[in-house]
């Protein structure tokens, strides 16, 4: 069975529309890219899409009631719900500094992006 994925490439402002045709978990055809960077990005998007995830966690005794956090690196897209439910259980205490490690998720650090 073949499946076609269509993306707007976000690597540069040209915004090429790239089509990746997949058959049985393998790439059969890829077209629409203008440069190799776009091709690589589209393949990664199909095989192993990753995202930086950001959220806020409650903070006790801070200036603001929450502190914003992000994953230090992009994490696999299908892990995002798991990460979010882990973050939902976390609470931190002030003071928090920018760059503080709030938690870790499968080896990826969750770091504070705001002071509290």
């Amino acid at each position: 069975m073949t499946k076609v994925y269509r993306f707007t490439c976000i690597v540069c402002p040209l915004s090429c529309t790239i089509e990746v045709e997949m058959e049985g978990g393998k790439i059969k055809d890829i077209k629409g890219y203008t440069c190799p960077r776009g091709k690589e990005w589209a393949i990664e998007e199909v095989i192993n899409p990753k995202r930086v995830v950001m959220s806020v966690v409650p903070v006790e005794g801070g200036k603001l009631p929450t502190v914003s956090v992000k994953t230090e690196r992009p994490i696999p897209k299908d892990k995002i719900p798991e990460l979010m439910s882990m973050l939902a259980k976390i609470k931190v205490k002030a003071p928090v500094k920018i760059g503080d490690v709030i938690a870790e998720f499968e080896g990826v650090k969750i770091i504070a992006t705001r002071e509290a």
Binding site: I10, L14, T66, K70
Partner: protein, 410 residues
């Protein structure tokens, strides 16, 4: 007497204050929030600072970098400016209220960096019941990402600009269901990297549609959506209802210029901000403007850049008793240009022009016919601001005006 009073402690105001201090000026920075940073502290997603700091930061991190460089600047938060008094070209007063009471301070120049406000539901023709559950995107973002409160569970977002899409992601991540993003135009409004969010979370995007009505008892229960034709007229019979408890409006920003228009500063209806020269000086000498109060930017990097430019303008104003350029060349909007700033250039210095197109086009030339400058571009989109450097030497080729236009590549 201050050399500069900076109104607004967001990225434009902080960058202006820092640059002005570096240039040896005595600076007072005022902001009406109780924290600095403007909207940055609530913009917790990455994508900021790639040009300005040469690294990718989240909004709060970008703000923090500026905040920690304010030594030597007098900063007042919870300070709301009530009035600007233009006593004379070289002496102005700023009246503000703060926990210390109402104060009136004298200053040589003013840098106005008060940002923008959001369009609300009633400005885009949505009628219906007076219910809770209607927010602007910025309000929803403040609730979630500053105060940690979820605005609702089943959400309809009006507008596919970057803010709307980023909020769609935040809602989805936090477990709310975004039932639709409704876009009036036939194309999405945001940057391509944000449009990906819709696919990431399987959010339906309705192009050429608008929300016209909200119904509910006490709280939003359903919203009415209608399709529009190419002239943006509603198509009768195309209406349908979406069940939702929350409506989020992300229908664009309007420069916050009331304090300026009150004292007669000339406003450009196409940018919504003041008419400015290449020092970002408004039609009142000694009052400069930067950031989203000047024009709506899509990158904070350019906002901060404008803050620095305004500070350099203030420095020149103080040193020379005014911006003394003799001959101003007008920047005219040609084909497919919706807005451009600055409006007047002198040819005495290089300038950054910020412009936006009316409609998307591919394979185009961005052209300045009077000075023979042509730049080829693969694509132009209303969502992506054009930023072009004009060199002083190039500007001097023109006599009275320079047209900026986008035409098809021949």
């Amino acid at each position: 007497m201050y050399d500069v009073v900076v109104i607004g402690g967001g990225p434009a105001g902080m960058a202006a204050a820092i640059r002005a201090r570096d240039l040896g000026l005595r600076v007072l920075l005022l902001d009406d929030n109780d924290y600095l940073g403007g909207i940055l502290p609530q913009c917790i997603h990455p994508g900021f600072g790639i040009h300005y700091f040469k690294e990718e930061l989240t909004g709060p991190e970008f703000a923090y970098k500026l905040m920690s460089n304010l030594e030597g600047v007098e900063v007042k938060t919870s300070a709301r400016v009530l009035e600007i008094i233009n006593y004379s070209d070289i002496e102005k007063f700023v009246v503000y209220t703060s926990p210390e009471g109402v104060k009136k301070v004298p200053t040589r120049t003013i840098i106005y960096a008060a940002g923008a406000r959001e369009r609300h539901a009633f400005e885009i023709g949505i009628v219906g019941d007076r219910v809770s559950g209607i927010y602007t995107a910025g309000e929803a973002q403040t609730l979630m990402d500053i105060y940690g409160i979820m605005p609702g569970k089943e959400i309809v977002i009006v507008g596919s600009g970057d803010v709307g899409l980023i909020m769609a992601r935040r809602f989805s991540l936090e477990g709310a269901r975004v039932k639709a993003v409704i876009e009036l135009m036939p194309y999405p409004g945001g940057l391509a990297r944000n449009i990906m969010i819709l696919r990431d979370f399987n959010i339906p995007l309705y192009l050429s549609h608008k929300v016209v009505e909200v119904r509910g008892r006490g709280r939003v229960e359903r919203v009415k959506v209608v399709k529009v034709d190419e002239n943006l007229r509603e198509i009768p019979g195309s209406e349908f209802w979406i069940k939702a408890d929350t409506l989020v409006i992300s229908a664009g920003l309007i420069p916050n210029v009331r304090l300026l228009s009150d004292i007669g500063v000339v406003i450009d209806p196409s940018t919504g901000g003041p008419v400015v020269n290449d020092r970002l000086e408004t039609s009142i000498p000694g009052i400069f403007v930067a950031g989203n109060a000047l024009l709506i930017n899509d990158l904070v990097d350019y906002v901060a850049e404008q803050g620095e430019l305004a500070a350099e303008g203030a420095k020149e104003f103080i040193d020379n008793g005014g911006i003394l350029s003799k001959h101003w060349i007008k920047i005219e909007k040609g084909e497919n240009i919706r807005l451009v700033a600055p409006h007047y250039v002198s040819g005495e210095r290089d300038v950054w022009l910020y412009a936006r197109v009316r409609r998307p086009m591919e394979n185009v030339v961005l052209e300045f016919p009077e000075i023979g400058k042509r730049i080829r571009l693969p694509v132009v989109k209303p969502a992506e601001m054009l930023r072009i450097k004009l060199r002083a030497k190039e500007i001097r080729e023109a006599e009275n005006k320079i047209t900026i236009r986008v035409i098809e590549n021949d």
